[in-house]
Amino acid sequence: MMRPLPQEEVIQMYHETIRPLYAYVSQRVGGDVSLAEDLVQETWMRALDDWAKKGIPREPLAWLRRVARNTLVNHFRRVRLQPIAMESLDIGNEFLSTNPDNAAAVGWAMARLRRSYSEILEAFYFEGKTVHEIAADHSLSERAVEGRLRRSRAALKKKLDQIRRKPAASRRRNMEVKDAKPARTR
């Protein structure tokens, strides 16, 4: 059932959460301002819909971050990326990239990973948590976290390979092979 939301309280909450929420989203889109603004606005509109039905959550910022995360995943699942140049892939750097194209590639790939992988990568790279902290959060051993991180990175690399532009030299080689084929058959 719908209920009225306390206007002043919500606006106060908005002021308290807008900066950390924006930073959360902006970091994940490589500082792309218009995309970050769109996603933050969408998150808040969802909040108003949901809170009117179920009430204001106990931890609004955590709730907003969770919804922003889902909104980001939905966004990256919808977009079709052009192949991008990431010659030498350094997963850690790509996560914290200030280049929107690289950030979009990471977001695109993360949205296609299984949830357990994307969550652990987020915790490690974006939130800067240690293996020890992640292990405590998920009730896992540190060894298990390290193993999962390794598998997550490998899965992410595999996804990123799908959209990475091939290096110029190998493209040239491919073209040469193509050009050579008719000559051989002749």
Binding site: M2, P4, Q7, E37, W44, D50, G55
Partner: protein, 317 residues
């Protein structure tokens, strides 16, 4: 210099303005359909239900937090929605019992038929709450996330949970319509025999207009949802159309209220001239009318803004 991940101040102000406006629109819409908990009995029941629900949600949140530390996220969420469904089931059982008592009292002639109809509306409301809780539980079991509520939300495993939710919510004003029509017939009889003033008839008609506007609003929202699913309109248009429908609903309920306030003002003036009332009552009636006229002007402005945005959306395509 601004940090790269720091929002632009202009954006912060713009979004604040939008949230503020949304809250105003939504809260006004809620007031317009405030007939929901009008009678004292229903208000008390509503309060008890709300307390029970808050306690339930609190308990579910504690259980949820504990389980989240242990294992996955899906389980606590499902557990929370199971508890909500269970609470709604218990609430329905108690309300149904009250209806049965009321039916017995009416058959014995110790309660009015109107009270029985009121109890039926309460049952319809509790049934809708239970069906919604069960629907949300089914959705959470499939997705492992909170249920989607926007009209532009996608289908979940090929199933339209949002549309089903709208149909369930619409069943409440549909049940209330029967009660209001019964009240209108009763008021007419009272006026005919001279035991009620004619203005009571307008009040009864006003309630029917409110309920009908709520039903129509749900129907329009279901049409919008269908258009979205058929890919005839996109997400941004859906959101604007919903705002348009809600503004239209408020406008529909305000028009007869303004008319009624005008009639009341006129009647008060006549009574004051005849020396039956004091002049202060005229000032009160004038203030009531002005407040309603201001609300009407605000709704007209909201509607114009939404329609302009819809037009811009069409031009931009």
């Amino acid at each position: 210099m601004l940090n790269q991940h720091e929002p632009d101040n202009e954006f912060v102000k713009r979004l604040e303005w939008r949230i503020d406006r949304e809250l105003r629109l939504r809260n006004r819409s809620f007031q317009a359909t405030g007939w929901f908990l009008r009678s004292r009995v229903r208000a008390v029941l509503g309060l008890v239900g709300l307390m029970a629900l808050s306690m339930g949600i609190g308990a579910a949140a504690v259980v949820g937090a504990y389980q989240a530390q242990n294992k996955e996220r899906r389980a606590p969420l499902i557990s929370e929605f199971q508890q909500r469904a269970e609470l709604a089931r218990q609430h329905l059982a108690s309300i149904t019992e009250q209806l049965q008592r009321k039916e017995r009292d009416v058959s014995l002639g110790v309660a009015k038929p109107e009270e029985m109809l009121e109890a039926r509306v309460n049952v319809a409301e509790a049934q809708a709450q239970l069906r919604l809780a069960e629907l949300h539980l089914e959705e959470v079991r499939i997705t492992g996330h909170d249920p989607l509520s926007n009209l532009s939300s996608p289908l979940v495993s090929g199933r339209d949970f949002v549309g089903e939710g709208l149909r369930i919510e619409m069943s409440v004003p549909q049940a209330a319509l029967e009660l209001e029509q019964f009240r209108l017939r009763g008021t007419k009889k009272h006026i005919d025999v001279g035991i009620a003033p004619p203005i009571d008839l307008e009040v009864s008609r006003l309630r029917i207009v409110e309920v009908e506007a709520a039903i129509e609003s749900f129907q329009k929202k279901m049409d919008i949802r269908q258009s979205f699913l058929d890919r005839r309109i996109d997400g941004p248009e859906v959101e604007l159309r919903v705002l348009e429908v809600e503004a239209e609903q408020r406008q529909k309920t305000l028009i007869p209220k303004v008319e009624l306030a005008r009639e009341e003002l006129e009647a008060t003036r006549i009574r004051v001239q005849a020396g039956l009332e004091q002049r202060v009552h005229i000032a009160e009636a004038e203030l009531r009318l002005q407040k309603l006229e201001t609300d009407m002007a605000k709704v007209a402005l909201d509607l114009a803004l939404v329609r302009r945005q819809l037009e811009q959306l069409r031009i931009g395509r």
